[in-house]
């Protein structure tokens, strides 16, 4: 195995697929623990206990501390020197901390033990700990576990790992149903629910649910639609329970939302006329909203640093519906099967990169001098100081962006930095 600097930089020529640059080196990304920041709000009776170090606690509070001025539904069991001395001790300590937590927060119904880099490296068996604690705390509290460690997960992959841990808990079903997978803003979830219901698709469920006790049933008749592109493990777990995925692009933009809904409609055998009837008005509204922003964005050159795996669908939306030109689309991980429909829609020859060698990618970005660079907060201000306009990428997972009514809002997120640059006279 070679070191970071010695790894080859190669371009892969896929069959009828855009070339993918694969790089290894320093990666400027969040670990999966960060996804707790939105998941703890989505599932209202769940608590996330990270088993890790002071670094993990510091990460969560730095990433979430700005926004959260109340006691959040997450915490860290910080591993200390004496826990490292003997592992049996660490298990007893964990039981004690969980006892303390459950006493403090009696309203909690679902407790996630979230693995971190330190807990993975010392091989603390959180699966066994979760089973042991569940036995003790059920029926009041169910205890599950997943890993959000940086060595295994990147940013949104934390949600994937969390949802995959929920799949075995879902009750069995024999009836035909549709499951929409991926945490969505409540307002988006309700809009999509209305549209799918109007199309006559149902019974309809969402994963994750808003409350842990409302976990959707699943079985061989279940078809599922991914609402997010980063759910590889969850999809595999759902398929292992007999459910089948409906391939579709992701519901970003007017076109993405229509194609996403249409994929479900076709699986339910709903005719084109009925489909138009239900979606036409909202789609027209979305397209009109986008039209107003198109002038400011068309022709602008875009550069994506890897972050959330949303990069490919976003590049597709921004290029096709707003006329932007992607110079490089970086993604931390490229799930070719789940992104097949997206990749087919990307402008031919769009350069893709998977993984990261930060310094080389920065070199490419500086050489290209894009009009808009989509990147994390560790890079945004330094690039602004170099005269590049940036859109910080984390906002894209914290904002309602899916569906028709949010299409213009999503475009607005990209228009705003450019508008601001024009507006400021200082």
């Amino acid at each position: 195995m070679s070191g970071a600097g010695a790894l080859p930089t190669g371009a892969e020529a896929g069959t009828a697929r855009p070339p993918v640059l694969r790089e290894r080196g320093q990666r400027e990304v969040f670990c999966g623990l960060t996804s707790i920041v939105w998941l703890h709000r989505k599932v209202q009776d769940a608590f996330f206990l990270v088993v890790g170090s002071r670094t993990c606690a510091h990460l969560l509070q730095s990433a979430a501390g700005v926004m959260i001025f109340a006691e959040p539904r997450f915490a860290t069991a910080i591993i200390e020197e004496r826990d490292l001395a003997g592992l049996a001790d660490a298990n007893e300590e964990l039981d004690r901390v969980v006892g303390q937590l459950v006493a403090r927060r009696p309203e909690i119904r679902l407790l996630f033990l979230v693995g971190s880099c330190p807990s993975e490296v010392i091989k603390l068996d959180l699966a066994r700990a979760a089973a042991r604690l569940s036995r003790r705390l059920l029926p009041a509290v169910r205890v599950l576990h997943y890993s959000g460690s940086g060595i295994e997960t990147t940013f949104t992959q934390g949600e994937d790992a969390c949802l995959a841990a929920l799949v075995p808990e879902m009750p069995a079903a024999t009836d035909r149903s549709l499951l929409v997978v991926g945490a969505l803003a409540e307002v988006v979830e309700d809009q999509l629910r209305r549209l799918l219901t109007a199309l006559g698709i149902g019974p309809l469920h969402f994963l994750p649910p808003r409350r842990a006790r409302d976990l959707a049933p699943i079985g061989p008749q279940t078809r599922f639609l991914l609402a997010q592109p980063f759910l590889g493990e969850t999809a595999r777990a759902l398929e292992a329970r007999g459910a089948r995925r409906i391939p579709a692009p992701f519901p970003l933009g007017a076109e993405g939302t229509t194609l996403w809904l249409r994929a479900a409609a076709e699986a339910w055998g709903i005719g084109a006329a009925r489909f138009r009837e239900v979606t036409a008005m909202a789609e027209r509204r979305a397209r009109e909203g986008l039209l107003r922003l198109r002038d400011g964005l068309a022709g602008k050159r875009l550069f994506f640093f890897p972050d959330s795996q949303l990069e490919v669908p976003l590049a597709r939306f921004l290029s096709r519906e707003l006329g932007m030109v992607p110079l490089e689309v970086g993604t931390p991980y490229l799930h070719r099967e789940h992104l097949a429909e997206e990749l087919a829609l990307l402008p031919a020859g769009t350069p893709l990169s998977e993984g990261q060698h930060l310094e080389r990618q920065l070199d490419r970005c500086r050489a290209a001098r894009p009009d808009l660079t989509v990147c994390g907060l560790g890079l945004a201000n330094p690039l602004e100081a170099e005269g590049l306009t940036t859109k910080w990428s984390i906002e894209l997972v914290f904002t309602p962006i899916q569906g028709y009514e949010q299409a213009a809002d999503l475009a607005g997120l990209f228009a705003r930095p450019l508008v601001r640059r024009d507006r400021l006279a200082v």
């Binding site: 070679s2 990666r27 990304v29 606690a57 591993i79 993975e120 307002v187 201000n381």
Partner: protein
């Protein structure tokens, strides 16, 4: 294992980053798993720096653990030297890398790199951020300042000179404190020789022994280095931290003494705090019960200002700086309060709830507590967030610092007349016990007049719109409905209006 909701300090490698980022010409190679680069945004976002911290992370992943993580580290070291060409290289591990024991420092030294390598041993499971900063600064000073020996004589005719030790990146008001302290010393005719770590190069650290004395501005960071310089070069340290009017006077007297100058004439009105605090509008501040918590330096300084300069009653004093527990206990004994030395947020919360102070002077974390308990609060110490790295000049130290303290500590309290009237008339619907001070501008929301009928579902949908734009969304939708003669507002009307008004 310890249950932590909030932590007062990061892990020790964050302290090392604060020192590396503060300096020029120093690079830090940090053996750390993927994801630990979150630390960059502390500097680029919270402190709003326009450049990346000088840190190269190895960002290893699980698949690397099966292979050779040491090779990864070697590659990162080579690349960092090649690309950044630092004058000195810090090499260390984060908490996870500490577990896999690749010995980054030893490995770097054996590689024969073209720059001096300073290995950092920061025990992540025992120590914390400030200790990490202090240890890193101490190791850097030791490595750069040369072998112990007699101090070089001051050039003939040159003014006395001192070093300012302690300011770092991500330090609470370090930028502006530095400017104040420089002007205090300039007023005495003392030259500032080297400021470190903030803005210093390794070459500057080599010049540290030339100064007549060291000013320890932030003991949490600078004390070990100052003690070593004292031992090695016979450089005395000035340990009075000039926060508050009295402490600033003491600082000036001590600086004059160490510089061998005649005692300065006291400038009584250098700060406005004494007059503001004596003026009659401050009378009602007398005996306000205040709880103080922060790093040891700021907490102890705040206790003095609160009691001697603002006339508050100190009801509690605490700090998360275990390294300075003795000093905190001594100060608490002086004011006759129970000391609280802990980094357990829940313990601090319990103590505040028990004491029920009228004002909390604390950190970002005490803001959480204050908000929950409904107590006015001002931040006096790290950890802080972005709002405490202000654009305006806002020192805590020196004369201007005292002005800032007066304004920012009094501001959250209810203003005098309002407080009197509240005690007289308790049944006012607008100004009552539970309402926040009216000068903070929280008006009671007036109910919107019913202009159009909202369908139940539309009303529910409206509630999903973020509160800060909900009012506007409601008005726009109603206007839209009125203009089109829509009798009942449905979800569709709501979104039609949103699309119509979007610009």
């Amino acid at each position: 294992m310890r249950l932590a909701v909030w932590t007062y300090e990061g892990p020790p490698h964050i302290g090392a980053m604060r020192v590396a980022t503060a300096m020029q010409g120093v690079h830090y190679v940090l053996h750390a798993p993927q994801g630990d680069t979150y630390a960059d945004l502390l500097f680029t976002m919270i402190e709003r720096r326009g450049e990346r911290p000088p840190v190269t992370y190895t960002t290893f992943e699980a698949r690397d653990l099966g292979g050779d993580t040491a090779a990864l580290l070697r590659a990162a070291l080579h690349e960092a030297c090649e690309r950044h060409r630092p004058q000195a290289l810090l090499v260390g591990a984060s908490c996870t890398a500490e577990l896999i024991q690749d010995d980054p420092g030893g490995l770097a030294r054996r590689m024969g790199l073209p720059v001096p390598v300073i290995p950092l041993e920061l025990p992540a499971y025992q120590r914390r951020e400030n200790w990490g900063a202090a240890e890193t600064f101490y190791q850097l000073v030791r490595a750069c300042a040369g072998p112990p020996g007699p101090r070089p004589p001051r050039p003939a005719g040159a003014p006395p000179r001192c070093n300012l030790l302690g300011p770092t990146a991500l330090g609470f008001r370090h930028r502006d404190d530095l400017q104040e302290v420089r002007s205090l010393l300039a007023g005495l005719g003392i030259a500032v020789h080297v400021v470190a770590p903030l803005g210093a190069t390794p070459a500057d650290l080599a010049r540290l022994p030339e100064a007549d004395f060291n000013v320890v501005l932030y003991p949490e960071v600078a004390e070990p280095a100052a003690r070593w310089l004292e031992r090695s070069f016979g450089q005395p340290a000035l340990r009075v931290v000039p926060i508050g009017v009295g402490a600033t006077r003491d600082f000036l007297a001590e600086a004059g003494r160490l510089a061998g100058l005649a005692p300065p004439a006291p400038a009584a009105d250098a700060s406005r705090l004494p007059w503001y605090s004596r003026s009659v509008d401050s009378t009602y501040l007398t005996g306000k019960r205040v709880f103080v918590f922060g790093d040891a330096t700021h907490a102890i300084a705040a206790a003095r200002v609160a009691t001697e300069e603002l006339g508050f009653e100190l009801v509690g004093l605490g700090s998360y700086s275990r390294e300075f527990a003795r000093e905190v206990r001594a100060a608490a004994a002086q004011y006759g309060v129970e000391p609280l030395v802990t980094d357990d947020y829940l313990e601090v919360e319990a103590r505040i709830a028990e004491l029920q102070p009228e004002l909390i002077l604390g950190t970002q974390m005490e803001r959480h507590i204050a908000k929950r308990l409904g107590i006015p609060c001002t931040v006096i110490s790290a950890p802080v967030h972005v709002q405490d790295f202000p654009a305006r000049h806002s020192p805590q130290m020196g004369h201007e610092g005292a002005n800032v303290l007066f304004d920012s500590w009094v501001h959250p309290l209810m203003m005098g007349l309002e407080e009197h009237l509240l005690a007289m008339f308790r049944e006012d619907t607008e100004f009552h016990d539970a309402a926040p001070p009216s000068h903070l501008g929280h008006a009671a929301a007036a109910p919107a007049p019913d202009l159009a009928a909202w369908a139940v579902e539309a009303e529910r949908e409206l509630l999903k719109i973020p509160f800060f734009v909900r009012g506007k969304a409601r008005r726009n939708t109603e206007r839209f409905a009125r203009e089109r003669g829509v009798a009942t507002i449905t979800v569709e009307t709501l979104y039609d209006a949103k699309a119509h008004f979007a610009r």
